[in-house]
């Protein structure tokens, strides 16, 4: 169902001459943190640039919270974008960079100053903000770009590889910031190739490959739909051999493997729900089960099943 507060791609295609950017994208992205993953050239940046109005669709339309990028005066009060480009106007300090573009919004000098400091403090750059950006580390440049993107308090924040170059502490702080913004009701759309962080960051994931959206939604729901790869479940129990012997005869179980430490099993099943019911039944018949955990319903596994190896995202 499409809402007026969603980011909507309505049959959007983008071609660069003969080269396909993205093709027939239909999406409705609700507020929250959404991760965009896919290999290089899959169309992630094209999709983000179209939300930000830096590119125009060759076909279809992009509507964000009911507005189109052509309505610049209203649209860009709502949208903030931190691009992948590690480039800045020459000679500016961190503070000047945030402040000078904030002035384009038409704020008074006092409000501009207040919003600039608020954003700079939110990304933890108060001290270095008086220094020229040319002397910043990669992580600091990422954060000052983020400050510039959030300074006008946008409802829709689009971030192209925002965690690149950040040290672990800054990474954790930045992720916490994304989650705080999402909790305030904002859209936070992030492209990333670090798949193990996708589960941590996102409410939803959009997977892209060769210009097409190959899957979208919550990871678990996406995993359930990949029928050609049976679900893997890791079980820790007191009698793994006995459990294995009971599972072998069940038709929804495809494969059972005993752990090297002989304290657990890895089971591959066609139906997770059916399997969990079965397991409950078995647990009542003499097997003490310590833990049951899905082993491949994370973003990385889903990505590998749908697109290929994680290496291809880099």
């Amino acid at each position: 169902m499409i809402h007026n507060h969603d980011i909507v791609f309505d049959n959007v295609s983008k071609f660069y001459g003969e080269v396909l950017g993205v093709n027939r994208v239909n999406l409705s992205i609700p507020p929250g943190v959404t991760s965009l993953v896919g290999p290089n050239g899959s169309g992630k940046t094209t999709l983000m640039n179209m939300i930000a109005g830096l590119l125009r669709p060759s076909r279809g339309q992009v509507v964000t919270c009911g507005l189109k990028p052509d309505d610049a005066e209203n649209y860009f009060r709502m949208v903030g974008y931190s691009t992948q480009y590690d480039s800045f106007p020459r000679g500016l300090t961190g503070y000047e960079f945030v402040e000078c573009y904030l002035r384009l919004f038409g704020y008074s000098a006092k409000d501009t100053k207040r919003l600039a400091w608020e954003a700079i403090e939110r990304v933890g750059l108060r001290e270095p903000s008086a220094r020229r950006i040319a002397g910043y580390s990669k992580g600091m440049r990422q954060r000052i770009k983020l400050a510039q993107a959030i300074a006008h308090r946008p409802r829709v924040l689009v971030l192209d590889e925002p965690l690149n170059g950040l040290d672990p502490l800054a990474r954790a702080e930045t992720i916490a910031l994304f989650q705080a913004l999402a909790a305030e009701g904002s859209h936070v759309l992030i492209s990333t190739h670090i798949l193990h962080e996708v589960d941590l960051i996102s409410d939803r994931v959009i997977m892209m490959n060769q210009g097409y959206v190959v899957a979208e939604g919550q990871i678990r729901g996406m995993r359930d739909e990949i029928s050609e790869h049976p679900m893997q479940v890791l079980i820790r129990c007191d009698k793994p051999e006995l459990l294995a012997s009971k599972l072998f005869g069940e038709k929804q179980v495809v494969e059972v493997r005993l752990h090297a430490d002989r304290a657990g099993l890895l089971v591959r099943t066609r139906s997770a729900d059916g399997f969990y019911k079965l397991l409950n039944h078995i647990a009542l018949n003499g097997v003490q089960i310590e833990s049951v955990a899905p082993a491949d319903d994370d973003a990385q596994s889903v990505y590998e099943y749908l697109i290929g190896t994680e290496e291809s995202t880099k």
């Binding site: 830096l54 480009y85 000078c100």
Partner: protein
């Protein structure tokens, strides 16, 4: 929709914000130093002439007025201001594309038309300060060695002041005319030097064109504003190859020339603003 007062106030503030960013870049960028050199180049021989006077029979104020007119029309308008405007105005969009920093403007709630207007005004302000300022400095550099009395008489009792005002207006309108064309070239072309080279050739062959075609140029109208015409026979009489550059038709009245230059520039800026609406950021292909 009719723009309201609030719209105009917002656009004014946005234009001032754009000018604040761009003027700093234009005035203080190291890569723009050559523009200052170009603007101040006429002063070098003029100051040399002042420091090492020739005292020959030709070293008269009247002769220097003719020489100044030649330098201004052959070098200053056609070379210094022309290339200076290439450097200033084509960089306003294309230079930012090369630096991958144009998107910061496009991600602000600024109409593309307002962005074009703001960038044009910032380029124009810089160009007028640099080239108009240099025109004013060239006057004392050229005429001071004739002595204060003669200089004062020329400036305040003779035609000197009106000549100076005409030259400053011509320099300003050259910045307006060439500036609008090179700003549009920066919006429309990946390499604005190609249209700049074509324009240079067009302006150069202007003297050979039929009377009607001569009017489709900037230099024709600028020369109409200059106070001292450069008759072809005078320049040619000395076997001067520069005579080829002289426009040998009746100049237009100054008011018509000014109005036409402003109209041409306004048309070009409006066209550039309309094209800027479709501008996309594709740094990868720059």
């Amino acid at each position: 929709m009719t723009p309201t007062t609030a719209n105009w106030n917002l656009w004014r503030r946005q234009i001032l914000a754009i000018m604040r960013i761009d003027l700093r870049k234009t005035f203080f960028a190291k890569r723009g130093l050559w523009i200052y050199f170009l603007a101040l180049a006429p002063e070098i021989p003029m100051i040399g002439h002042w420091l090492i006077p020739t005292h020959g029979p030709n070293d008269t104020l009247g002769q220097d007025v003719q020489i100044f007119a030649g330098i201004f029309q052959f070098f200053y308008l056609r070379v210094a201001i022309f290339f200076g405007c290439v450097g200033i105005f084509s960089n306003l969009f294309r230079g930012e594309m090369m630096d991958k920093s144009l998107h910061y403007y496009l991600l602000a709630p600024v109409r593309r038309e307002v962005l074009v207007a703001g960038k044009f005004l910032s380029g124009l302000t810089a160009a007028i300060v640099i080239f108009g300022g240099s025109t004013i400095l060239q006057f004392p550099a050229m005429f001071w060695h004739h002595g204060r009395e003669l200089m004062n008489a020329y400036m305040f009792q003779g035609p000197g002041m009106s000549h100076l005002i005409s030259y400053v207006i011509a320099a300003t309108l050259a910045c307006v005319g060439y500036g609008s064309l090179f700003l549009a070239a920066g919006v429309l072309f990946r390499n604005p030097l190609i249209p700049a080279a074509l324009l240079l050739v067009w302006e150069g062959i202007n003297g050979f064109l039929p009377a009607l075609l001569k009017k489709f140029s900037i230099i024709y109208w600028l020369q109409s504003i200059c106070p001292i015409p450069m008759p072809a026979q005078n320049a040619g009489g000395r076997g001067n190859i520069l005579a080829l550059l002289v426009i040998d038709i009746d100049p237009a009245p100054a008011v018509i020339a000014i109005a036409n230059l402003l109209l041409i520039s306004a048309f070009v800026i409006v066209w550039a603003a309309l094209r800027a609406r479709k501008l996309e950021i594709a740094y990868g292909s720059e």
